[in-house]
């Protein structure tokens, strides 16, 4: 079920009515939320709920065993079981065809004549998110960082909590399970703020991403022509805006919906396009994933504890795998590799060419960072290397004759939207939406809110899926 759909409006009203009715005690409210979460997921493809159940049962069992088991070898076995099941799901459902394709290429290049038909596998929505979330529980249990969930219900709800089930934020057990132990009710202000966040999130998704930017991006990246430099840049800028509004929109909706239930989810985006450098970017973009990769991949790989070379290697491996997490294609690896390279170059610059960031050079640095990130989006969005390479050639005017496929108004529209997005991120980078709202006159806030509601309603949309559902 999509947040930007009529069925979700009905679903949410029913869930909220049941949640705040007096017919259920807290345990039954949690059962209702769990059931609602399965319905939320199952309305997309009912049989795939079974994967959620398996993941839940395996990690619940592994977590309980890890809580009492003292034998280190057995503890490791339980951890490996959890990782085998979760990563096995990912390997089969998400990377099955990718692995098969590459195996075929290697086999053929080694002289073995082998041809395999692609497997007809459905990618379960949000599988990368919930497997990472449940794995974090087992790994933290293994490291004795957290206590086991008190009840199976609490754990199952942690794995399946519908607001963040399919596209995050990826929440750690210590931050979410413990919230289920005591009865939660949103205060009036929390509830209204939750509605406000839901409105902002839907506005980002329906109006900004789907209505204003998606078509331009699709036109440019769907073209099989060699494009004019302007068209290539505008298409890339449109995608950079689209993916931000799409994903940040989902996260904002998720945080708002959870808040309406009195549950607090962490921020996932903090105005990333005004980042001053690439490490700053990863502290602001998809924060829950970057912190997951840092804690469960970069640090176990050695982090910065074993010298510079090892640190760079750990950084690059983390970013490459982070890229692969997004999709089963080499283009995603390149995207991750570019980010890894940026991060290494930034560390080298800080070591050998340090300079002070002032308010004067800051915006210039933010602009350079944003431009470099745009180049990475080309590989993220393009499905083929040829498309990506053609785009890069066009963007850097390495080909003289490029075709113009975008109209002037479309170019103007994208420039205005992305320009405002960049300025907005720059102005907001050291504050928060809540802080700004607190300072805003309630009437003005109401008018802005109304404008967003009105634009959402007249945009309507065709219920476009969120981009990150496919990851």
């Amino acid at each position: 079920m999509l947040f930007n759909s009529l069925s979700f409006v009905v679903f949410l009203v029913i869930v909220l009515a049941l949640y705040y009715s007096k017919i259920f005690n807290w345990t039954n409210k949690k059962r209702m939320l769990l059931l609602a979460s399965y319905v939320f997921y199952g309305l997309w493809n009912p049989p795939l709920v079974i994967l959620l159940w398996i993941s839940t049962i395996v990690d619940w069992t592994a977590g309980n065993k890890l809580a009492v088991e003292e034998n280190q070898r057995k503890r490791k076995m339980w951890l490996l079981l959890s990782m085998f099941v979760n990563l096995g799901f990912l390997a089969f459902f998400k990377y099955g065809n990718f692995l098969l394709e590459n195996f075929t290429v290697i086999a053929n290049s080694a002289g073995f004549e082998y041809e395999a038909l692609p497997m007809d596998i459905i990618l379960p929505m949000g599988i990368s998110f919930y497997t990472f979330q449940t794995m974090s529980y087992t790994i933290d249990m293994y490291k004795r960082k957290i206590k086991p969930a008190r009840t199976f219900l609490d754990f199952a709800l942690y794995v399946t909590f519908f607001p963040q089930l399919v596209a995050g934020p990826i929440v750690r057990a210590k931050d979410l399970i413990t919230q289920f132990y005591e009865e939660k009710r949103a205060t009036a202000n929390q509830f209204f703020w939750g509605i406000f966040l839901l409105t902002i999130g839907l506005f980002q998704k329906v109006v900004m991403a789907d209505t204003l930017l998606a078509d331009t991006s699709d036109t440019v990246f769907g073209s099989d022509k060699l494009l004019h430099g302007m068209d290539a840049w505008i298409g890339t800028l449109a995608f950079s805006g689209q993916i931000f509004f799409d994903f940040a929109g989902y996260s904002t909706c998720a945080i708002g919906i959870a808040l309406m239930l009195g549950i607090i989810l962490p921020d996932n985006f903090k105005y990333p396009y005004a980042s001053l450098g690439f490490s700053d970017f990863w502290n602001r973009w998809h924060i829950s994933l970057s912190s997951w990769l840092k804690d469960y991949l970069y640090i176990p790989l050695g982090g910065n504890r074993h010298g510079i070379t090892r640190m760079y290697a750990a950084l690059m491996i983390t970013m490459l795998l982070g890229g692969l997490w997004h999709g089963a294609a080499w283009t995603f690896m390149v995207w991750g590799g570019l980010h890894g390279t940026y991060l290494i170059l930034e560390k080298l610059q800080k070591q050998y060419l340090p300079f002070k960031i002032t308010k004067w050079n800051g915006i210039f640095l933010a602009f350079i960072t944003f431009s470099c990130i745009n180049i990475t989006w080309v590989f993220f969005r393009a499905r083929e290397f040829d498309t990506a390479w053609n785009m890069i050639k066009s963007m850097f005017y390495m080909q003289i004759e490029g075709e113009k496929i975008l109209g002037s108004f479309e170019i103007l529209k994208v420039c205005v939207v992305i320009g405002l997005l960049f300025i907005c991120h720059w102005l907001m980078k050291n504050t928060s939406m809540k802080a700004v709202s607190l300072k805003t006159n309630p009437v003005l806030l109401g008018v802005v809110w109304a404008i967003m509601l009105f634009l959402i309603i007249i945009s309507q949309g065709s219920g476009e899926q969120f981009i990150y559902f496919q990851f």
Partner: protein, 346 residues
């Protein structure tokens, strides 16, 4: 934080603004109508599994959609046909789906619009892909999508502002469509597509009629003619007569072998389009070989005096009034030929 106050203001202003928006567009002549989208099509396709050998399925391009009126068909035969025709598409993928993915062995009427029927078998070509997308959507639609569509129907039927369409009409009033109508100069150098306004209404059964405006307002009908010219003159792909005929004939044989009753109909066209069809997709070279090799019952509008004088206001489809006459008359002919059975008299 005075969020409650802000929320009340936001809801109040939104309701007023939406009310004004609805009122404004109604004053501009916009009326609530259903969108002929893949969900509406899938609802009809889903009924196929429950049909008997007495039932009828209509398929083809927009001419079948406009020219065959379900009420008139039902009045003549006692059977309400299922309308699976799809505008701008080749009927081949849909017929292929019915033949290969169902056990239906009743009557299938396939409309032959030469420019689309004989266009292509290439899966990525527009006429094929549009039809195949609908077939795929029927197979792949989620329960959430079904629920969304079910919830959207009363909104579409009662609010003019709910106007997103799959076709992307120039008079759609969702925000994206309104923005798409804006342009500055002609940067691409390509001839711009003429505005394509919706010129029909469809109901829940996909019974489709041409709007009164198209039938009576010549300048509006001319705007649709300009679109046909744009599409037809812009199409540089030659017809694939053999490939399309062979593809269809294979399915036709399979369908008739299991007892199905297959009818081909060439609906009326007129003016510039009829001239082009006669010249480039002639009856002798396209229609007749198809009829001969498929061994289906076949009806060409030119063979009947009562249809010779039917004029299509925009060259390709009949007005609502003429469509009722056409349906009634052609069904009578089919009954007289024994191609259709009238359960009322049998």
């Amino acid at each position: 934080m005075h969020l409650k106050q802000s929320l009340i203001i936001a809801i109040s202003i939104s309701i007023i603004a939406i009310g004004f928006w609805e009122f404004y567009w109604r004053s501009q002549g916009k009326i609530p109508d259903l969108d002929d989208n893949k969900d509406l099509w899938a609802l009809q396709r889903a009924k196929v599994d429950n049909l008997s050998d007495k039932d009828v399925i209509l398929m083809g391009s927009s001419r079948v959609l406009f020219d065959f009126q379900l009420n008139e068909w039902e009045a003549e035969t006692g059977v309400r046909p299922l309308q699976l025709a799809s505008a701008g598409t080749s009927p081949l993928p849909i017929f292929h789906d019915i033949v290969n993915n169902t056990n239906f062995n009743g009557t299938v009427l396939v409309g032959v619009t030469p420019g689309l029927f004989f266009s292509t078998t290439f899966p990525e070509a527009g006429p094929w892909k549009r039809a195949q997308n609908r077939v795929n959507h029927f197979k792949d639609r989620t329960y959430a999508q079904r629920f969304n569509h079910w919830l959207s129907m009363p909104l579409q039927e009662n609010l003019a502002l709910v106007s997103t369409s799959e076709e992307g009409w120039s008079d759609d009033i969702d925000l994206k469509s309104l923005l798409n109508n804006l342009s500055i100069g002609n940067r691409t150098g390509e001839p711009p597509m003429p505005p394509f306004y919706a010129f029909q209404y469809i109901d829940e059964d996909r019974n489709n009629i041409m709007s009164e405006k198209t039938a009576t307002d010549t300048s509006f009908a001319n705007s649709v003619k300009e679109v046909w010219k744009f599409f037809i003159l812009g199409n540089k792909n030659p017809p694939e007569r053999e490939a399309t005929t062979n593809f269809f004939v294979a399915d036709a044989k399979k369908f008739m072998d299991r007892g199905g009753n297959l009818i081909l109909v060439r609906c009326p066209s007129s003016g510039w389009i009829k001239g082009g069809e006669d010249k480039f997709l002639s009856r002798e070279e396209f229609w007749e070989p198809l009829v001969k090799s498929s061994k289906a019952h076949a009806y060409h509008f030119e063979d009947f005096n009562q249809f010779k004088n039917l004029e299509c206001p925009e060259w390709s489809h009949l007005s609502a009034t003429d469509a009722r006459v056409f349906t009634t008359e052609i069904v009578k002919i089919m009954i007289a030929d024994g191609v259709l059975i009238n359960p009322k008299t049998n």
